[in-house]
């Protein structure tokens, strides 16, 4: 049977763990807030740029633009899988890796070649160990995430796409909808879809300088950069929110454990006292 001191030691140890999980939860909450702020700041730019792109694209034959042109057949697909570098964030990585894996298996079943670009250590470790062709990896970018990272990744996949290495590029990433809810996205990144401009804007006759074809060729890479940036930010926010939830439930579990152990501790202590008293009483009786 556990002695009083053993139980005491366990209580102390669980309390220490609880302190750590509590601190990690608070750090995750602070990081989440920051990430959400950054997402909000990119929104006006991303939306306006999307509008401009749609309007310019409406004036151009999209088959003439290398970014917008739909390939005749899709034989090779590149999946950009965005996961986290660190663990302790619940099922965040499991979920996104499962989604990516299913997509990869589906594409292979259709006879297509699948290449993986892994963003985040967890995804890299998963796909690297298995029978997948990981063409590029970006590890430890989330510690100091900035726009240059997004541009770098976008540049790499866009160049490979334009050189004809892939017929399609998908982004597989998680986006935080709220602090507790996250959505898994599997989005077609290339060919770029220009979206539709609404009716009112069609009425305006724009002058273009330079001509729309040239303008569009400049607009597309910028649009791809910002889309990649948003995906990275979304994934980072979702990661921190998952970590926050995981650490919160770990803190709760520790609390439950402490309560159970304290109850046990008190019972054992009570039993020891009772035994002692009955021994004393028994001893006194014997002396009579």
């Amino acid at each position: 049977m556990a002695t009083l001191r053993d139980i005491k030691r366990r209580i102390t140890s669980v309390k220490k763990t609880q302190q750590i999980t509590k601190a990690m939860k608070m750090v995750a909450a602070a990081k989440l807030r920051k990430a959400q702020e950054r997402i909000n700041q990119t929104r006006p730019y991303a939306e306006s740029l999307g509008d401009v792109l749609a309007r310019v694209a409406a004036n151009v034959d999209s088959d003439l633009n290398p970014y917008l042109k739909k390939p005749d057949t899709v034989e090779s697909v590149c999946l950009v899988v965005i996961t986290s570098d660190r663990g302790l964030c619940g099922s965040f990585n499991t979920n996104i890796i499962r989604t990516a894996r299913q997509e990869a298996d589906r594409l292979r079943a259709e006879g297509k070649t699948v290449k993986i670009v892994a963003v985040g250590r967890k995804g890299y470790e998963y796909f690297h160990r298995r029978d997948f062709d990981v063409v590029a990896k970006y590890i430890n970018i989330f510690r100091d995430l900035n726009y240059e990272h997004a541009k770098e990744i976008a540049r790499l996949v866009v160049r490979a796409y334009l050189e004809g290495e892939y017929d399609q590029v998908n982004l597989v990433f998680t986006a935080a909808v709220s602090a507790i809810k996250a959505d898994l996205h599997n989005m077609v990144y290339l060919p770029l879809s220009a979206g539709h401009s609404d009716e009112q804007q069609h009425d305006t006759d724009y002058l273009f300088e330079p001509e729309p074809e040239v303008l569009l060729r400049e607009l597309c890479p910028k649009n791809l950069n910002i889309q990649m940036w948003r995906a990275l930010l979304d994934s980072y926010a979702a990661e921190e929110s998952a970590r926050m939830v995981a650490m919160e439930s770990a803190t709760d579990n520790a609390q439950e454990m402490i309560e159970g152990l304290t109850l046990h501790y008190n019972k054992v202590r009570q039993a020891a006292i009772t035994t002692e008293i009955s021994e004393i009483v028994g001893g006194a009786e014997a002396l009579k």
Binding site: Q41, P44, A46, S48, R55, P212, L215, L219
Partner: protein, 135 residues
């Protein structure tokens, strides 16, 4: 009648650099500097690296831009740039470092670097320094 104003938004991926009413603007277009006053014909334009001058109540405000796009409507201009800084917010030290880095890269001329990128970086750094020197 009071002079007509133009609403301007300067937006980058990180922040709204400027949002407000202006009297006019000078910006670096694809084919040279251009000016826009209220009532301009709708236009989509590519911007190049250069300085942007806003006119508000007879005062000029200088900004350094690193290229981007402008959507011009009779009463509204939206400028989308990957970077734009007002002259007094330019980090001269950072721009100087960027210039040195780009110059070194160009001087080395090795095969594995992207010459176009280095040239663009140099142009951006020089532009920032030029605009900063005029504040």
């Amino acid at each position: 009648m009071a002079a007509k104003k133009l609403h301007l938004d300067v937006i980058t991926p990180f922040e709204k650099v400027f949002s407000g009413e202006i009297d006019g603007i000078m910006a670096p277009g694809h084919e040279g500097y251009f000016g826009v006053l209220p009532g301009h014909a709708p236009m989509m334009m590519q911007l190049s690296i250069g300085e942007m001058k806003l006119k508000v109540d007879n005062k000029d405000y200088l900004y350094a831009t690193s290229g981007g796009f402008a959507e011009i409507l009779p009463d509204k201009i939206t400028i989308l740039a990957e970077a734009a800084e007002s002259a007094d917010k330019i980090d001269i030290e950072r721009a100087t470092r960027a210039r040195e880095r780009a110059e070194q890269r160009l001087a080395r001329k090795s095969e594995d670097i992207d010459l176009d990128r280095a040239r663009m970086a140099l142009a951006r750094a020089l532009n920032r320094l030029k605009v900063a020197s005029r504040r």
